[in-house]
Symmetry: C2
Subunit: 207 residues, 2 copies
């Protein structure tokens, strides 16, 4: 049976709730109110209650939502209960910061490979990974069933790194570089835009 | 005369356009079509044309928008033509990556100070900054008129670092740590949520 896809907005909000719930769980809290979830997600509490009530009866009035239960249910709804492998391009300061943080691991994304062009870095360990040369991207992506690529490379190297991943079968690219990256249809590019978000925050501060 | 504030959505989209236009300019292009702007921003072309036409006649049919002119106009509309100072908390891998990239500088945000608790790092240069101790936050924020703080610290240190900035007068916090951070009313917290965006991208890949 083909399930119906969630609307874009609902999927985006559920993903955000899931991330916040996972952080809440790590901080040791077992319940969360829609008000608190609202403060962390910038989604209004009415919208949150509506989103969650569409999938069954979750919350208890005055007690809030059970964090564990809600994490399990949203993972089911988003089909993201599994473990997914990710390739990281670039072992500079940003690449090392990503490779050694739990920012992806806590959400079921395992950094399965780390690549760089720098022959001084290739072969050296970063956390539990060893830096590999670009010549091994295609084979590693295939062997480890990698579907997500993360670009932590200088702007001038971003498009080539993206092309290499895409040609190897990667279908989701997470772009941390400052360059604009093009991709063929069927490949999703997500560019981090901290400066854009900062300009937006500043506007409301200044006006 | 008090100008009317832009609606939230418009301000967010204009900020995003501005960021993409700045990157387009750096890549040497002088014009951009609403179609191209749409591909990079994930905003549909009709919405883009509507957003921009509300502020005057920008585009030329078949030629696209003049990048320089559009950057200037959006900066005027967003009141972000000036230079704004930013304090960076944390000089680990992520902090150094931020301090040495142009990701904020290209948009008028100058990283004016870098702080860390690590006595080994304090006093040492990172790019054109020197790592300062936390005891200097309040004085530096006041002297340099810093209104934005960026958290590149471990999760356990995030709330204390945020509190220190807020108590010193910072009103916009950009949270790169994985921790949830609370703030009093009047202070905007923007948390980067790469894992949340990845979960969202994955949903559409898997379904």
């Amino acid at each position: 049976m083909q399930e119906e896809r969630l609307p874009l907005g609902v999927a985006a909000r559920l993903s955000r709730y899931l991330q916040i719930l996972t952080q809440t769980k790590k901080s040791g809290k077992r319940t969360i109110s829609s008000q608190t979830l609202s403060e962390y997600s910038s989604v209004n509490p009415t919208q949150i209650r509506r989103d969650l009530s569409a999938f069954g009866k979750f919350g208890k009035r005055g007690v809030g939502y059970n964090v564990d239960y809600l994490i399990g249910r949203i993972k089911e709804i988003l089909h993201t209960s599994g473990q997914h492998n990710l390739a990281l391009m670039g072992s500079g300061n940003l690449g090392v910061a990503i490779a050694t943080s739990r920012i992806f691991a806590d959400h079921g994304f395992d950094i399965a490979a780390l690549f760089d062009t720098d022959t001084v870095k290739i072969g050296h360990p970063v956390g539990r990974l060893v830096v590999q040369p670009l010549s091994e991207v295609a084979e590693t992506v295939r062997q480890k069933n990698i579907i997500v690529g993360v670009l932590a490379v200088p702007p001038a190297a971003a498009q080539a790194a993206a092309n290499l991943l895409i040609n190897s079968g990667v279908r989701i690219i997470f772009n941390y570089s400052e360059a604009l990256v093009d991709a063929p249809p069927g490949v999703a590019i997500h560019s981090m835009s901290p400066a854009g978000e900062l300009l937006y925050a500043l506007y409301f501060y200044l006006t």
